[in-house]
């Protein structure tokens, strides 16, 4: 409050009364100001006796115009985008941070990072989730909490590397140097999770020592710290006589089995592993090892060297052997009776004939002078061959029977050509090397040409120096080949082309009609309403359409309903043996009396029973004797035409109906009250015949 001069008298003695809010000149008494604006904080008592300050928060970097005060405005409308972003971010940080059990201080720091990020416009183009996760991880790293990036990615279900990318970027932009991860940080956390009880501290200490040893032995650079921790904890646990298997450890540490085993083997290779437990706790070896990947590479290099030496030796040995072979052959020839007279001529002719045959194969010019021509011939042949063969295959597949004669003849062709190709290919390397030399020479000359090109960047004409036109020609197929390839490509991509055509036609039609939309949404399939008179029919139809399981014989299921009405028809349907049929008829007759009314209930129970049957089929073989007998019945009926089987099925069939009578009042509640195994049994028997079918299907 600057002391002002009174307007009336000019005196500077002004009394300001804060309580009344007035400024009065003491000399003349004129009131200079009424209702002075006071910058005091006022408190108001709210509900429950809580006193809160009166007023609104106006942010420093908020909008320049004053926020509108008024009772009609909702608070969210008044806030602008930046504040909203920050509020949203804060909320998400709180949520995620509480899941990680971070304390409030960390969360506040994370929010500060987030504010920095937002002010630097780094959130643009990135999901807020990722940015928040990166901020939280930054805090974890700077504070040294034992949280891994993997934990965050688990919570968010996001790929670790994506989060890592965001994290690295933020760290770079905010110039935050996060200290390197120390595997020692994670040990107490993992040890706690592995539940060592009272000895947790001791085990952690041992594991820490192990990790430090691993660090000295260069096992930790370039590796995930969690893997090392896992290995150290496993060994420490064993040292203190806790049995923690590899699976337990990997569940906690989140690495895979292979990694853990690898770390253990690497540790095994170090000299420290040879010490006993006591020695290890007391002594620290001076010698440091090389990083394991380096030793592996060296090992590989050694192996390669060894192999090379072996190969050399092999060559030498082979050389020796071939020497011996030659000597033997010459000896043999000498000892062979020589052909005289006319026959001598034949021996000479054989060799040039072979060569002549081989050379006459290529339809191209027979001169062997220019290797380039050979190269051309070879490539032409290869492509022709390949294309011909492929087309032949396709045609052959299409019309098998008719064209058998022709493919046979034509297959002879490729065989002969294959033989010639090998001879040509044998000469190819030399051709290749020659032409390579050519290009090298030309490239040397062309280098100077290129430098000129560099000086004149404007020229866009293609400099043909150093480009062998003939060679380029080989890269282009001639017309016949083009036709062949076109056919081939069209056949291969026929579906795609058809789709494209249809799409185009559709678009054109719609354009004419004027209903062309840019993007068409997929219409979901509308399920047809099933119309049926009875519930049983409805279920039938549904099952028909839906085809729930392959283990249900739907035919028999249908017969189930019809069979009760017409027992005479049933034998035609069942493909079982006579014994089974007898049982079937007997059971059917029993059923007609009871279950006409309970048809619907039956079918639903059938459905349930099938599910039980299917789920219990593995149990079936294990459970008790009750089931065994039925199983034996079932298995025996499967072996057809065994007369011995008839008496046992009859006897067991007699017992089985008795068992049937017990649960025959087919009421759902009773069934469900029974134990699972019994239900298995009764289901088997009731469905026994059908169970046979199901069984047969299963076993097949």
């Amino acid at each position: 409050m600057s002391s002002r001069v009174c307007r009336t008298c000019g005196g500077s003695d002004i009394d300001v009364d804060q309580a009344r809010g007035s400024a009065v000149c003491t000399s003349c008494g004129s009131v200079l100001e009424d209702n002075i604006i006071v910058s005091e904080v006022q408190f108001v008592e709210g509900s429950g006796g809580v006193s809160s300050a009166v007023g609104q928060f106006v942010s420093a970097d908020g909008p320049i115009k004053a926020p509108l005060l008024g009772s009609g405005f909702h608070t969210s409308v008044g806030k602008e985008s930046r504040a909203q972003t920050l509020q949203n971010g804060k909320r998400q940080i709180q949520q995620l941070g509480s899941q990680l059990q971070l304390n409030q201080h960390c969360l506040d720091t994370a929010f500060n990072f987030f504010k920095l990020v937002v002010s630097k416009h780094l959130t643009r183009g990135r999901k807020t989730e990722h940015v928040i996760a990166a901020c939280l991880y930054l805090v974890c790293r700077t504070e040294g909490t034992p949280h891994m990036l993997l934990d965050l990615s688990d919570l968010l279900q996001v790929n670790v590397y994506i989060l890592g990318k965001t994290f690295l970027l933020l760290a770079r932009e905010l110039c935050i140097n996060a200290p390197a991860i120390d595997p020692c940080l994670y040990i107490p956390r993992f040890a706690h999770m592995l539940e060592f009880g009272a000895k947790t501290h001791e085990v952690s200490m041992t594991a820490l020592r192990l990790v430090q040893r691993m660090k000295r032995d260069w096992m930790h650079t370039g590796r995930r710290p969690s893997g090392l921790c896992g290995a150290a904890l496993l060994v420490a646990a064993r040292m203190h006589k806790f049995r923690r298997s590899v699976k337990d450890v990997i569940g906690v540490v989140k690495v895979c089995q292979t990694t853990l085993r690898k770390r253990l083997t690497e540790f095994e290779d170090t000299p420290t592993s040879q010490l006993t437990i006591d020695e290890f706790m007391r002594v620290d070896l001076e010698q440091e090892c090389d990083p394991p990947s380096f030793t592996a590479a060296q090992h590989k290099a050694k192996m390669q060297q060894l192999e090379q030496e072996l190969a050399k030796k092999l060559d030498e040995v082979e050389g020796e052997i071939s020497c011996y072979k030659d000597e033997i052959e010459t000896e043999l020839e000498k000892s062979r009776p020589k052909l005289r007279g006319i026959y001598a001529a034949y021996t000479k002719e054989v060799d040039p004939e072979d060569n002549g045959e081989v050379l006459s194969m290529p339809s191209e010019p027979e001169e062997v002078e220019s290797e380039d021509v050979e190269l051309q011939a070879a490539t032409h042949h290869l492509t022709e061959d390949f294309l011909c063969q492929v087309i032949q295959e396709e045609e052959g597949r299409g019309m098998k029977g008719d064209r058998k004669a022709e493919p046979e003849k034509e297959s002879m062709g490729p065989h002969r050509q294959a033989a010639s190709l090998s001879s040509i290919l044998g000469k190819l390397p030399s051709a290749a090397s020659l032409s390579l030399q050519q290009t090298f020479q030309t490239s040397d000359t062309s280098e100077s040409g290129e430098k000129d090109l560099g000086d004149h960047p404007q020229s866009e004409e293609l400099d043909l120096e150093g480009i062998d036109d003939q060679e380029i020609d080989k890269y282009i197929l001639n017309e016949k080949e083009v036709q062949v390839k076109t056919e081939l490509w069209m056949k291969q991509n026929a579906e795609y082309l058809k789709e494209q055509k249809e799409k185009q036609e559709r678009i054109n039609k719609e354009k004419e009609e004027g209903t062309y939309k840019e993007k068409k949404k997929k219409k979901s399939k509308k399920r047809d309403q099933i119309e049926a008179l009875t519930a049983g029919e409805a279920i039938e139809r549904m099952l028909e359409k839906k085809k729930i399981s392959s283990k249900i014989n739907y035919d028999v299921l249908r017969d189930l309903n019809r069979g009760t009405g017409s027992p005479t028809r049933s034998p035609d349907h069942t493909p079982d043996t006579t014994a089974a049929r007898k049982r079937l008829n007997r059971r059917r007759r029993r059923k007609t009396s009871d279950s006409n009314q309970d048809l619907a209930a039956n079918t639903s129970i059938m459905g349930k029973r099938f599910r039980h049957l299917i789920s219990s089929t593995p149990k079936k073989k294990k459970t008790a004797h009750q089931v065994e007998s039925t199983v034996s019945v079932v298995t025996e009926t499967e072996t057809p035409a065994e007369t011995e089987s008839n008496p046992p099925p009859d006897s067991t069939a007699e017992t089985s109906p008795t068992l049937l009578t017990a649960p025959s009042p087919v009421e759902e509640e009773e069934e469900e009250e029974e134990e699972a195994e019994e239900e298995c049994v009764s289901a088997l028997q009731l469905v026994g015949d059908y169970g046979c079918d199901a069984d047969e299907e299963e076993i097949f």
């Binding site: 891994m148 990036l149 993997l150 670790v160 590397y161 890592g164 994290f167 690295l168 760290a171 770079r172 110039c175 140097n177 390197a180 991860i181 260069w218 930790h220 650079t221 370039g222 590796r223 995930r224 710290p225 969690s226 010698q287 440091e288 090892c289 090389d290 990083p291 990947s293 380096f294 030793t295 590479a297 060296q298 490539t379 492509t383 290009t439 490239s443 062309s446 280098e447 290129e450 866009e460 004409e461 293609l462 400099d463 043909l464 150093g466 480009i467 036109d469 060679e471 380029i472 020609d473 080989k474 890269y475 282009i476 197929l477 083009v482 390839k485 076109t486 490509w489 991509n493 795609y496």
Partner: protein, 187 residues
């Protein structure tokens, strides 16, 4: 220039990527049907053409832009690119060879000593970054050369840069830094 080492380091260039333009529209279907060693990808809209003599793979787009990868030197890349343009010319397109530029060069190099990555990162923050959870190597980015060097704990490096000269300079620049944090190999 060798910065206090007696033996020269072998920098082996493994890949050179170059782009150029043909300044004319190319019909990919024609190329696919009339060329050998081509793979047509209609979904993506490009044709892959592989040359044998400089072992090169080229991605050809219908706009006339071509990317050429797989060469082992800048000259080879240029030669391959010109060959490719010639081939397209023969197929009947009015090809002009323009805007040839080597975009990326990848080289590998091996130090005779192992490197302690954590020390290396500490000494060179924030240029170097090392995140063992994500990647086993420490990344060192040289801004003025626009080169990136990945340093592995065994002492091998992979260097990527816009041209061969930059790559060589980058290796020379980083060598003394690595030398400080070295760990002599036992065997």
């Amino acid at each position: 220039m060798d910065s206090s080492n007696d033996e020269a380091l072998d920098i082996i260039i493994t890949n050179v990527v170059a782009t150029f333009r043909t300044r004319c529209h190319l019909n990919l279907r024609t190329i696919a049907l009339e060329g050998t060693n081509v793979i047509y990808k209609p979904e993506v809209g490009k044709v892959l053409m592989k040359l044998r003599k400089p072992m090169i793979t080229a991605s050809i787009w219908s706009s006339g832009k071509i990317i050429c990868t797989g060469a082992t030197s800048e000259d080879e890349a240029k030669l391959g690119a010109r060959r490719l343009a010639r081939c397209l010319q023969k197929l009947g397109f009015k090809v002009r060879f323009s805007a040839f530029k080597v975009v990326n060069v990848l080289a590998v190099c091996s130090m005779p000593f192992a490197v302690h990555l954590i020390d290396f990162t500490k000494n060179n923050r924030p240029i170097a970054s090392y995140e063992p959870e994500l990647h086993p190597a420490a990344t060192y980015r040289i801004k003025n050369l626009k080169a990136t060097i990945q340093v592995f704990s065994t002492g091998s490096l992979t260097v990527t840069g816009p041209n061969v000269q930059n790559v060589a300079t980058a290796v020379e620049q980083v060598y003394p830094l690595l030398f400080e944090c070295q760990k002599p190999l036992c065997k």
